[in-house]
């Protein structure tokens, strides 16, 4: 095995080296490798054999491990379990004690068992209750106490209260203890003991018991009293100080009551109440015992009861928390339950189904310790209705029942937990919070009422206009409605159809909300807008921010002096040195500002007055028109059309050399009069050769050498300016077109023709004239003027014709030139056509020749371009081939 190509075989792992602990056995392993291995026997010194193990037998004496049968060893294994042992003894004592009392008529026993059951069941949540006959002793783990009799050890020694421990079988000491309280408690019926007991079992009960017996033989093994008792001890939340107490006295009271009034199987709802106070009553306990049970012989409860206990036990959790004043017992179960905060209301209803009317209970009951027993007793009945009932249920039914119970309990608990926070906020609080939220909403999205107004447009111009454009394709926003707050707050309002104040109900709520919003908005608007707070004497200032304008980090104070040169609005006032770049840019900005004002103004244009009668409308319209005219004048002034200084380049033309100046052209044309447009066109044509896109974009016959920026410029100019002019020119009459052409003739036609823009302009003019001719427009006089101008123009351009082609033949970018040539050719006289052909013959022939070497599609395209011209003079490229 080698990593990284390292040959590990060369390495002797047994050899000591750096970073390697010395291996004393290295030599040995080496020898092993040599198959010269040492045998274990050879190296073993045999010391181990000298050990004297003969006395190991005494280990048993020491550690108590007898060789005897497993069963006999068990007690030894328990030795360490002092706790368990002690508890066992305690249990045994208590068992004895209970047994003594159990020796009553069977009926009493049964009931007492029932009574115990609920208590035992209460322990279910805390411990797993595994009732077993005390005689049955499985192999001990040491933890039995925890699984079987968890509470037993918690039993308080009654001696603490000066009462003799109940464990003692002898009743004598018990009797000696405070007798007084018990007496009041004992109802007269108590004296009637056993005889009635057995008979009280109903037929159903007996049957149930028998069935249960057959089902669970294990449980049937004679259960000594103590078991039951211990089970009873477990009480979920409370540890009863006297374990025996509930069971023992119980028979006394309950049995009598039951026997007298009703069927033992049915509990009455009242009994649900169990008191935690029972803890305090222990001292009284002993009293009862002697009185009630002494004469009765101890009698083990029937096995069935134990079985029932198991079942009942599972349901115990339902009753866990029942603590009720005993007085309440006489009232319906519901009342009691309500009084108990921990009580699960669901149980009540359930229990109520099985419950029987509360038997009359002596008024003095409450104070007496005995009552507790009664409580516990009745409690069991409530739970189960009846142990036998549960027993009768099939396993599935039982499971379902338990499941249901558990679910309901869970739900009730949840409700209880949640209901704890009920009413923490008053309606006013909620209102307040809602208002704050709405205010935030409004300030974040703007006042819905303001949408479409100038203010909202100013804040959110791009978004709103963009949406308009995307959605409606309109150039400018009218009344954008798509807004968050509007959707959620105001649309709902309008759906309700206006104010319906008297309407009570959910809608009303909605309306109130709307009003709140409105009020909130009003308040926000009326609030003085203090953007910042400067505390006297402080060096800094505190800026306030809101959702709309997050904290402004820079607070720049501007001087109010209006002649400050930095402000665009003042830019058009300084025409002195109007040619420098800075002022030109500022001029353009002022143009834009004015344009935007005009666009805004257009949007508020009132409808033209329908009739002369509507004086108000007329007035409005007139006022609007005046404003529009003022703005127009402002724009015109900003354009500086008539602002011709001594500078070499006209200021307006200078503006056109800037990108944004070019881009402004379409908008300018929209907001100017026909006359103004004509003026602009004239101005451009007159200055055609001084336009940067003409002057600086001269073609050469060599390679195309326009740089990217200029090409972009040219492109932009043709898109923004030329198209605008083209549209405008197409509305002009022949006379104006002729005039324009005449203007061109006054300029350096050669220069113009050598630029793409210039050529386009010429093409535009010429083709317009041709279109007019085709349309039959133009007067005779105009045509004569045109022809004259054309002749002049032709003479001017003819010398330049061979040189206006951009690049070489190969470049293939000369289509626009062919277009111009075609435009010239159409309007030319036969003589002029001939001159034309002569001028460009070389180029035509070159192109045709080239096309033969080109691929089919490219060639045809080139030829088509040439054909534009050839056809205009009545020829065709085909003739040349």
């Amino acid at each position: 095995m080698s990593f990284f190509g390292f040959d590990s075989t060369l390495h002797n792992p047994a050899a000591a080296g750096f970073s390697q602990a010395h291996n004393p056995f290295a030599g040995l392993s080496n020898r092993d490798d040599d198959a010269d291995a040492l045998e274990f026997e050879d190296t073993y010194d045999g010391l181990g054999d000298q050990l004297d193990e003969t006395d190991d037998a005494f280990n048993d004496d020491t550690f108590g491990d007898t060789v005897g049968p497993v069963s006999s060893r068990a007690p030894v294994g328990k030795d360490f379990d002092f706790f368990g042992q002690t508890a066992n003894v305690a249990n045994a004592i208590e068992e004895e004690h209970v047994r003594f009392h159990r020796q009553q008529p069977v009926a009493k026993v049964v009931q007492s068992v029932q009574q115990q059951v609920p208590q035992a069941s209460t322990s279910a949540t805390a411990y797993k209750f595994a009732p077993q006959p005390s005689s049955y002793k499985p192999a001990r783990t040491g933890y039995e106490k925890y699984s079987q009799e968890p509470v037993a050890e918690l039993q308080v020694d009654a001696a603490l209260w000066g009462v003799a421990p109940k464990k003692q079988p002898a009743p004598a000491p018990v009797a000696a203890v405070s007798p007084a309280p018990a007496q009041t408690a004992t109802p007269p019926a108590t004296s009637t003991p056993g005889p009635t007991g057995r008979k009280m079992l109903s037929l159903e009960e007996v049957e149930a018991q028998m069935r249960a017996q057959s089902k669970k033989p294990v449980a049937l093994s004679p259960a000594p009293q103590p078991q039951v008792q211990q089970q009873i001890q477990h009480d979920h939340g409370y540890q009863y100080s006297q374990p025996t107490q509930p069971q023992v006295p119980a028979p006394v009271d309950h049995i009598q009551h039951k026997e007298q009034s009703f069927h033992p199987g049915h509990g009455h709802p009242v009994t649900i109440l169990q008191r935690p106070q029972s803890k305090h009553t222990p001292p009284a306990q002993p009293l009862v015992q002697p009185t009630a049970h002494q004469r009765q012989p101890p009698q083990p409860p029937p096995p069935q009861q134990q079985h029932q206990l198991h079942q009942l036990h599972q349901q115990s959790h339902q009753i866990q928390h029942i603590q009720q004043p005993q007085q309440i017992q006489q009232k319906p179960a519901n009342v009691q339950i309500l009084q108990n905060p921990n009580r699960l209301s669901g149980d009540v209803a359930n229990l109520g189904l099985h419950a029987h009317p509360t038997p009359p209970i002596p008024a003095n009951y409450p104070t007496h310790p005995v009552h507790q027993q009664q409580n516990s007793f009745s409690r069991q009945q409530i739970l189960m209705a009846h142990p036998s009932q549960l027993a009768q249920l099939s396993e599935e039914e039982k499971m379902a029942y338990m499941d249901q119970e558990a679910k309901r309990a869970k739900r009730n608990h949840k409700i209880f937990l949640m209901s704890r926070d009920n009413g923490i906020m008053t309606p006013q609080d909620k209102n307040f919070v809602t208002r704050i939220q709405l205010q935030q909403l409004v300030s974040a999205t703007g006042n819905p009422n303001e949408h479409g107004t100038d203010e909202s447009l100013a804040e959110d111009f791009y978004y709103q206009v963009h949406n308009q454009i995307q959605g409606g394709g309109r150039q400018h926003p009218s009344q954008p409605l798509n807004n968050f707050a509007q959707t959620y707050l105001y649309q709902t309002g309008s759906r309700q159809g206006g104010p319906r104040r008297h309407n009570r109900g959910p809608e009303n709520h909605m309306q109130r909300m709307e009003q709140q919003v409105q009020r909130a908005v009003e308040a926000a608007k009326n609030k003085p807008k203090n953007k910042q707070l400067v505390i006297e004497g402080s060096l800094g200032k505190i800026s306030f921010s809101n959702a709309k304008t997050p904290k402004p980090l820079l607070n720049i104070k501007r001087n109010d002096s209006s002649n400050e040169p930095h402000r665009p609005s003042s830019s058009h006032k300084q025409p002195q040195h109007g040619t420098d770049k800075r002022s030109e840019l500022r001029t353009i900005e002022s143009i834009y500002t004015t344009l935007m004002k005009m666009e805004d103004h257009d949007r508020i244009m009132p409808p033209p007055p329908a009739s002369d009668a509507d004086a108000e409308a007329i007035q409005r319209f007139v006022a609007w028109s005046n404003d529009a005219q003022a703005l127009n004048a402002q724009l015109w002034k900003a354009l500086r059309i008539h602002d011709h200084s001594s500078a070499q380049i006209h200021p307006f033309i200078a503006l056109l050399s800037y990108r944004k100046g070019k881009k402004a052209m379409p908008r300018i044309f929209r907001h100017t009069t026909q006359e103004q447009r004509t003026t602009i066109l004239t101005l451009i044509v007159v200055n055609l050769d001084s336009l940067d896109v003409v002057r600086n974009a001269q073609v050469t016959t060599g390679d195309i050498q326009l740089n990217a920026a200029m090409r972009e410029n040219v492109e932009l100019f043709s898109v923004a300016v030329m198209s605008t002019l083209f549209n405008f020119l197409n509305e002009l009459g022949l006379d104006l077109v002729a005039g324009v052409l005449g203007l061109v003739c006054t300029r350096n036609v050669g220069v113009i023709a050598k630029s793409k823009i210039g050529v386009s302009m010429l093409t535009m003019i010429l083709s317009r004239a041709e279109i007019i001719k085709h349309g039959g427009g133009g007067s005779e006089h105009d045509w004569r003027a045109w022809d004259a101008t054309y002749g002049q123009f032709f003479d001017l351009i003819e010398p330049s014709l061979p040189h206006i082609f951009p690049g070489t033949v190969n470049s293939g970018e000369d289509v626009y030139v062919w277009q111009l040539l075609a435009a010239i050719g159409i309007g030319a006289s036969p003589d002029q056509q001939q001159r034309l052909v002569l001028a460009v013959k070389d180029r035509v022939m070159d192109t045709v020749a080239l096309s033969k070497t080109l691929p089919q599609d490219l060639a045809s395209q080139r030829l088509q371009n040439v054909n534009l011209f050839m056809r205009s003079i009545g020829l065709d490229v085909e003739l040349l081939q």
Binding site: F461, Y463, T549
Partner: protein, 98 residues
Amino acid sequence: MLFFSFFKTLIDHEVTVELKNDIQIRGVLKSVDQYLNIKLENISVVEEIKYPHMSAVKNVFIRGSVVRYVHLPASAVDIPLLEDATRREAANQAGKAK
């Protein structure tokens, strides 16, 4: 509010947000607020190899203050309109500052 207004129109477009810690996140802009906090969905980090811890992330909310650049989809920007909006914004600010 110009930028807020502008970014609102980019909602549902794919943008690339470059953070001040040099991470570039490309995703569909889902939401933006006045602080220019940005919510992106379906994100992918441009240099995924360099930031493997981001590979499992699908949506992000980016605090506006940590954004260095937002690369815009050019086709979704109306430049003349944006220019005008900028002018209006400037005019507003000038008006307010006065």
